[in-house]
Subunit: 245 residues, 2 copies
């Protein structure tokens, strides 16, 4: 297994996909995906285009769907949810499909959607992703951060580091054997430095600060927890994620 970390989808090598791709958008798309599937949601379907989301979700029975999305910091009219994973309670999501629009998260997912396997990861379901890698041993693995408007993001890189750190620890492979690029070593260092204070790290992150200004303290707290959900979101068809099994 060779692991590659890419800070943003734009930095991935052109005209290639890996055997296994892991998209990360800690704040908040991939944290939400894990939460919804863990709470019994039927699936999560991801869109970059709001109009396309509306068109597709309209073909779905209203009692079987939920729609989540924000524009300009506010919930879209007619949608049940904004972008907070905390709203995705079992009572609400059980048996329903979440149609979600997310600018940054979707770019990473689109970039890797043709890979044989596409997973999503956040701190909250890190262990499930690591377990999959150790069991399946895919030859090439890309962890792709979403970043923020094309820029590097601290939280996605730290989550990539959390995955790599745990694979190293559990496989007893030396990091230099596992690492396919320099970013892996750096992501492991970032996670190692901050693993006991991930909430503090999210407070330093520019996207974290943006969410704090929007009064999303509880979201940051929730998204900074590690290994609290056992769910593994895996792509079934382009843009549609379900739990493994």
């Amino acid at each position: 297994m060779k692991l590659f970390v890419y800070h943003t989808p734009e930095l991935t090598p052109k005209d290639q996909v890996p055997d296994c791709a892991i998209a990360v958008d800690v704040l908040r798309a991939t944290s939400t995906i894990a939460t919804v599937l863990s709470a019994g949601g039927e699936a999560v379907q991801v869109f970059s285009d709001l109009d396309e989301l509306i068109a597709v979700s309209e073909t779905w029975p209203p009692q079987k769907r939920l729609r989540a999305g924000e524009r300009g910091g506010g919930k879209v009219a007619g949608f049940e949810l904004g972008n907070s994973p905390l709203d995705c309670t079992p009572e609400l999501v059980e048996g329903r499909r979440l149609f979600i629009s997310t600018t940054n998260g979707t770019r990473a997912l689109k970039r890797v959607q043709d890979s044989a396997t596409v997973l999503t990861a956040a701190f909250i379901n890190r262990a499930a992703v690591v377990q999959y890698l150790l069991e399946k041993q895919p030859e090439t693995v890309w962890i792709v951060g979403s970043g923020w408007e094309g820029s590097y993001s601290l939280e996605d890189t730290a989550c990539a580091g959390a995955i790599a750190h745990s694979v190293v620890e559990k496989s007893q492979l030396p990091p230099e054997k596992l690492a396919g690029n320099d970013e892996v070593i750096s992501a492991i260092a970032l996670y190692s430095q901050w693993q006991d204070n991930l909430l503090g790290l999210l407070h330093h992150a520019s996207h974290g600060q943006r969410l704090l200004r929007l009064e999303c303290h509880e979201d940051l707290k929730y998204c900074s927890q590690t290994d609290v959900l056992t769910v593994l979101p895996i792509q079934q068809e382009a843009g549609v994620f379900k739990t493994k099994n």
Copy 2:
């Protein structure tokens, strides 16, 4: 002072330059620049194009010039030096101008050459750069890594982190006040994790591994030393660096 770290020149914001730019190419251009100026070289003039280097250096008296450059891993015919800083002894460089061609290092320097102040940094002269920042307090500072063929490089990011780490320590500014982007926090974490084993880090770096295959062990050892030279290379005219004073 706001500090921004950019992993490669391509990732800097378009159509802007900072008050003070710091170009980093630890392996090996900026390590060589510091070494030559510290050893009494008159100046270092940097070129991306080998033919341009040859044309300009031909106008210079042979006893006043040195030429350094490699193509395909070997020294250019007629040049006195390859790319190893270890060859830049005081006996050789005293009073002479070094004309140097370096693919990766030059891209970072070109990108920022219109900034009011352009410095070059490596681990070996880190303290001199930090002292300049603390004395002059430029409003915006960019530290721009050279990377390797447009990709992230571990050694340049760690050097950026070494600078930021020391500015934080000496100014008593909290990192979040100093940091203009997420990359700063991450670079500090990378340096903090590896500061006692920078040679080990260079051995992990993909460009470090490339140099090890070319039998450049001693270069890596030399470039991994911190604060051993007090020289501050500062741009006098586009592409020409001299010591401050």
